[in-house]
């Protein structure tokens, strides 16, 4: 019964969660608090853990809430249920997009429309970056140094390189995985030692 309810709740969250991570978390919050599954404090702790562990924050939160409510099986049920609406809707969108693209690829209106959408996407991601510039992430000047170094290293490959060796060097350091690991190391050195 509990698993059925978890399935229902997370299908609903997956279906109505427009806008990604934080929108999904507020939906989950509404569900777990109104059903008395968790207290506010317990939920806030789960969100905090979801943000400091690898993986998309909405998925982390769904898995953890599923575990808190229904143990191991609860976690699996919640994780699968939140993805199912995405699978149905996103696959439909992909099919429709492929059909439209194949049919109208040479169409001027289609090209212009897609170009406008792409410009909006850039603004959307810019807005996401801006909203993430919170005091919680930028606690002192050292945070800004880390921000500046990572930002510059990521943009270096955009500039023409003099030699192939410096080009392979900049492409090594514009690796997000490496930069996340190095920034974690920097955090440990700057704030713990």
């Amino acid at each position: 019964m509990q698993y059925l309810l978890l399935t229902y709740v997370f299908l609903k969250v997956g279906l109505l969660g427009f806008g990604g991570g934080m929108a999904i978390i507020s939906l989950i919050q509404g569900e777990v608090l109104s059903r008395g599954w968790l207290t506010q404090t317990e939920f806030v702790d789960i969100v905090a853990i979801s943000q400091v562990t690898p993986g998309p924050v909405g998925m982390n939160c769904a898995t953890y809430v599923g575990y808190a409510v229904g143990g191991l099986w609860g976690a699996l049920v919640a994780s699968v249920a939140i993805v199912v609406p995405s699978l149905v809707i996103m696959l439909t969108i992909c099919y429709v997009y492929d059909v439209i693209r194949n049919r109208f690829q040479q169409n001027r209106t289609f090209q212009v429309t897609m170009r406008i959408i792409r410009i909006l996407v850039v603004l959307l991601v810019a807005h996401a970056a801006y909203t993430l510039m919170t005091p919680a992430s930028f606690i002192d000047w050292k945070s800004w140094v880390i921000f500046a170094v990572v930002f510059i290293l990521m943009l270096l490959p955009l500039f023409p390189q003099k030699s192939t060796s410096s080009s392979s060097l900049t492409s090594t350091f514009s690796n997000p995985i490496l930069l996340i690991l190095l920034s974690g190391l920097a955090g440990w050195l700057l704030y713990r030692l």
């Binding site: 997956g14 109505l16 969660g17 806008g19 990604g20 991570g21 999904i24 702790d45 905090a48 853990i49 979801s50 943000q51 400091v52 562990t53 690898p54 993986g55 998309p56 924050v57 998925m59 898995t63 953890y64 575990y67 808190a68 699996l76 939140i82 993805v83 609406p85 995405s86 996103m90 696959l91 969108i93 992909c94 959408i117 792409r118 410009i119 996407v121 850039v122 991601v125 970056a129 993430l132 930028f138 945070s143 800004w144 880390i146 921000f147 500046a148 990572v150 990521m154 943009l155 997000p176 995985i177 930069l179 996340i180 190095l182 920034s183 974690g184 440990w188 700057l190 704030y191 713990r192």
Partner: protein, 132 residues
């Protein structure tokens, strides 16, 4: 191909810290720059579609790329790769390390990682603008 998609998404899923947008720099690196599975325009179109559909942006983008490259098997490989690291790590934490967020070392590491993630997303804006 299927295994390569799965492995690529395991990497992307493991190093996404925060919401779906934190996944974008990793997708760009692996999918656009390294494997050339999508060009810059298609990558921007993918972000638009993944954002328009409900659910996790990370999962929606995995569905788009899996579908484009290898049909339904690709979809399964990418989605599993994107969510498995999440599920496994959260289960380990929920079962064994509930106090992890209060650990001062973990806290210090994340003080370094958080501004870096914002920088990665900010750099994505500029890189994306040069690709569309």
């Amino acid at each position: 191909m299927i295994f390569q998609l799965f492995w690529t998404y395991i990497k992307i899923g493991t190093f996404t810290i925060g919401g779906g947008y934190a996944m974008l720099p990793l997708i760009e690196r692996e999918v656009v720059d390294k494997h050339h599975w999508l060009d810059g325009e298609e990558y921007a179109n993918m972000i638009a579609l993944a954002q328009a559909a409900p659910g996790l942006i990370a999962v929606n983008s995995a569905i788009f790329i899996g579908h484009r490259l290898a049909g339904w098997k690709g979809v399964l490989a990418c989605v599993l790769g994107a969510v498995l690291p999440s599920i496994i790590i959260i289960l380990l934490i929920a079962m064994f390390f509930r106090d992890i967020k209060d650990n001062p070392t973990i806290e210090a590491i994340f003080k370094g990682v958080r501004p870096a993630v914002v920088a990665l997303i900010a750099a994505t804006v500029v890189r994306l603008a040069t690709k569309i």
